[in-house]
């Protein structure tokens, strides 16, 4: 037993040490969801840093130049177990390969407290084509593959060829024949060569595939190619929890309960990547100032008024509406107009998605301010676009806007550099600004009064006064109600009075009374401070009180001497000299002064 105790302690110490070192340890882990992918595929890389610190730094990323890296976000998980804080910071990236080969991903590292911690290195193999991919070109073949599956994802485009900036509709269809245990986590496909616009809302319907009925959730996205060429649409991905497939456990009578406690497993499904061909816009008959708009549009121009005065603004609203990528519709080119000053007032756009087609209206408001009177014309504005249906460029023009501009009748503004804008005249009688002021009232850098010392002092003094009065009142209240406190506060004053009286007695040569007053001064002082009665207090008790209050031995001795001297003088018949009284008075003053530093009571 005796031998076991040290062993037990040793084990405890070792375990505790191990626990502490584990808590302080930082681990960096790097994981890939797959080790082999194809060129059209993506891999998910997760880097986790775990440590006892609450604020873990971001890890240094390894060189990932052979991939397109899309950050997916950071998550932090803090757990407190038995008072130990454990933080895990995870950063997730989606890697899209740029070329085939086996790539080594060097360790990710983090530096904490000058210590470097790093993960293991990983290898990701990128193949040219998906070995599991079906070579069949038909959707049916793909569906027949999926027929036996409970969930699968299909990606389709409405056309495989389109012009640059022409809409292609991508449909991602999520088929599931079982109940889902979690909300599907959807990652859209990578579409780097397209403008995208989600076509909402998502559709939900049932479809028979073979003899199985699936619920289909369809997400449609409008894609507009940004460049000509073979463009790829990556894989869409969904993570979802579905019921686990269970084997029938033979004659196990408890297999009955399996359906009562269904279990789920998380599955990740991906669509196949797609390729579309984006045709360049024809160069033939291309208008000079063509801005790249593709679709079918119309344009109108409406002026808010046609009869105006010189300098009165006219707002012309240009409204371009139709089907196509409305966001890329550029402002109509008005050009330089010598009769007008032109300002852009505002522009707005309203995107609409009707029957799966993106379109809408873009409104430009331009302000025209006529410089001169007369019959003026705001010329029509030409707007051109490429119509992918007729495969031709079209130029449409608004009608000219004819204006009648009247001269400003009044000559009151003749001297002014500007003319007032009609409709904004506040006071028709005011024809000029008011005259200058003659009273200068100049001051050097007017500073804010709130920062001036005078202001701060003026506001501070009453506050100080109030605090002082509050303190005084509290003190007076205590002196009135707390006798012990009042005695302690008045002890010094009383002692001084008594010493003063003793000084008078010393002058009259009355030694007995002199020492009586000295003795009383000491006893009354200590008793008042200690909150006890001086009557019946002995010299020993006094010395004990000051000893307990922390008096130094020299003070105690000096006090004892003084008391002895006083007793001797009071009760002996020997005459006390003036010099002795003078010494005693000085000693009493010194003793009382030293006692003032003690915390008696």
């Amino acid at each position: 037993m005796v031998r076991r105790v040290p062993v037990f302690f040793l084990v405890c110490v070792l375990l505790t040490g191990a626990a502490f070192s584990a808590a302080d340890e930082v681990t960096v882990m790097m994981m890939l969801d797959r080790n082999i992918i194809t060129m059209n595929d993506q891999a998910r890389l997760t880097i986790s840093v775990t440590g006892a610190k609450q604020n873990l730094p971001d890890p240094e990323l390894p060189n990932l130049s052979m991939f397109d890296v899309i950050p997916q976000g950071t998550s932090t998980n803090i757990s407190i177990i038995n008072g130990e804080v454990q933080t895990t910071k995870s950063l997730t990236y989606v890697l899209s390969p740029r070329k085939t080969g086996a790539f080594v991903i060097r360790p990710a590292a983090v530096i904490i407290d000058h210590e470097r911690y790093q993960s293991e290195e990983l290898t990701l193999k990128v193949l040219d084509s998906d070995p599991t991919a079906s070579s069949s070109t038909e959707k049916e073949a793909e569906l027949s593959q999926n027929r036996q599956r409970e969930v699968f994802l299909v990606a389709e485009v409405d056309k495989e060829e389109a012009y640059v900036n022409e809409q292609i509709t991508l449909a991602i269809k999520f088929y599931h024949a079982v109940n889902l245990y979690s909300q599907p986590d959807y990652t859209p496909p990578q579409t780097t060569d397209f403008w995208t616009d989600m076509l909402e809302p998502q559709k939900s319907y049932y479809e028979m595939v073979g003899d199985r009925r699936y619920k289909v959730v369809e997400i449609n996205t409008a894609l507009f190619p940004t460049r000509p060429g073979e463009l790829s649409i990556g894989r869409a991905m969904i993570q979802v929890q579905v019921p686990t497939r269970r084997r029938v456990r033979g004659n196990d009578p408890f297999s009955l309960f399996d359906n009562f406690f269904p279990r789920g497993e998380t599955v990740t499904i991906r669509s196949k990547p797609l390729e579309v061909k984006a045709r360049p816009l024809p160069t033939e008959n291309k208008p000079e100032n063509f801005s790249g708009t593709v679709g079918s549009f119309k344009i109108t121009a409406v002026a808010d008024k046609r009869n105006v005065d010189v300098n009165e603004p006219i707002t012309v609203t240009y409204r371009i509406s139709g089907t196509g990528n409305i966001k890329t519709v550029a402002e109509p080119d008005i050009g330089d107009l010598k009769d007008f000053r032109v300002y852009r007032a505002s522009s707005s756009e309203k995107v609409s998605k009707i029957n799966g087609m993106v379109g809408g209206t873009k409104i430009f408001e331009e302000v025209f301010i006529p410089n001169r009177a007369g019959k003026l014309i705001i010329p029509g504005v030409a707007f051109n676009f490429f119509d992918p249906v007729t495969k031709r460029y079209k130029t449409i023009t608004t009608e000219d806007i004819q204006l009648t501009v009247s001269p400003v009748e009044s000559e009151d503004y003749a001297e002014m550099p500007f003319r007032p804008v009609a409709g904004r005249v506040v006071d028709p009688n005011a024809k000029d600004i008011r005259y200058i002021k003659t009273n200068a009232d100049l001051r050097l850098n007017r500073s804010l009064v709130v920062f001036s010392p005078l202001y701060l002092a003026l506001n501070g003094v009453p506050v100080v006064l109030l605090i002082a009065l509050l303190f005084l009142r509290r003190r007076n209240d205590r002196l009135m109600n707390d006798v012990r406190y009042a005695r302690a506060r008045g002890a010094k004053k009383m002692a001084r009075k008594r010493l003063s009286r003793a000084r008078q007695l010393a002058g009259s040569g009355n030694g007995g009374e002199f020492f009586g007053e000295i003795r009383l001064a000491l006893f009354a002082y200590v008793a008042d401070k200690a909150g006890i009665s001086p009557h019946g207090m002995s010299s020993e008790q006094l010395l004990e009180i000051i000893r307990k209050a922390g008096a130094a031995e020299t003070l105690i001795d000096k006090t004892a001497d003084l008391l002895r001297q006083a007793d001797f003088a009071r009760y002996s018949s020997l005459e006390v000299t003036g010099a002795q009284m003078e010494d005693a008075l000085r000693a009493a003053e010194e003793v009382l002064m030293n006692m003032e530093a003690l915390k008696i009571g």
């Binding site: 300002y343 600004i433 200068a440 100049l442 007017r446 804010l448 202001y455 009065l469």
Partner: protein
């Protein structure tokens, strides 16, 4: 005796020199006014801006500077200086009239300005005062309240009347302090500015190749929210915001 006379003379000389120095800016101001009267606005403006550069300021100085700018056709600067003048003399009728007058000439105005009724009410309360005056009023209310408390403490005052007066003084103090704080926020903590360029694009990002949200013209006022290199993030009264080139604006 001779020394005494010398001292006296020196003192007189020093005081008179001080007085000359004190009158100098006033005289320059008067000279600028003469230039203005003779329609030499450029010369008048030169003196007014020189006084401003030397650290002098007053509502009259800014107002007259605004007038010069207007006469010279610089409407953005005119608005800027009238707003500076209004900050020092918020109840001055001439400043308000000229500001309204100049705004008649601004080619664009902000559409869709929605005024919060609470903000409008607060502005109505604080607009007639300068910040310094409001600070003094708040200070007075504060001192009276504190002195009242001191009297209550010292003289052991009590009763319903005393309590009622205390509440009234407290409410007065809170209201005036609130007004002063609101004015301080508006005038000191909030940076406001005016477009002085004839036309200035408001961008979606602090870069010339970013989208132009809209185009502002001289005289439009805004609040500055942030800065990045050569651009300032501003919000206009109609809540439209964007980045504007700092050379196109002036801070009030």
């Amino acid at each position: 005796m001779a020394r005494l006379i010398l001292c006296f003379l020196l003192t007189v000389l020093l005081f008179s020199a001080g007085e000359v120095a004190a009158f100098e800016p006033e005289q320059e101001f008067a000279r600028a006014n003469e230039f203005y009267e003779n329609q030499d606005f450029e010369a008048a403006l030169q003196i007014y801006t020189d006084l401003t550069d030397r650290g002098y300021e007053s509502a009259a100085l800014f107002y007259n500077t605004g007038n010069c700018f207007f006469k010279m056709g610089e409407l953005g600067y005119a608005v800027l200086y009238y707003l500076k003048a209004r900050r020092l003399a918020p109840t001055d009728d001439d400043i308000e009239a000229n500001l309204d007058f100049v705004r008649q000439f601004m080619p664009t105005r902000l559409e869709g300005v929605e005024v919060n009724p609470l903000v409008e009410f607060l502005n109505l309360l604080v607009d007639p005062f300068t910040l310094n005056r409001l600070a003094w009023i708040a200070s007075l209310a504060f001192i009276i309240f504190i002195l009242f408390l001191a009297a209550v403490v010292h003289f052991h005052m009590g009763g319903l009347g005393v309590r009622l007066i205390g509440y009234l003084l407290f409410v007065a103090m809170v209201i005036t302090l609130g007004m002063a704080t609101y004015k301080f926020r508006n005038d000191v903590l909030t940076e406001k500015g005016v477009i002085i360029a004839t036309e200035s694009s408001i961008y979606s990002a602090p870069a010339a190749d970013s989208d132009v949200e809209f185009v502002g013209t001289y005289g439009l006022t805004f609040e500055v929210l942030g800065a990045a290199d050569e651009y300032r993030l501003v919000v206009f009264e109609n809540k439209r915001r964007g980045w504007i080139k700092k050379d196109d604006i002036e801070i009030i």
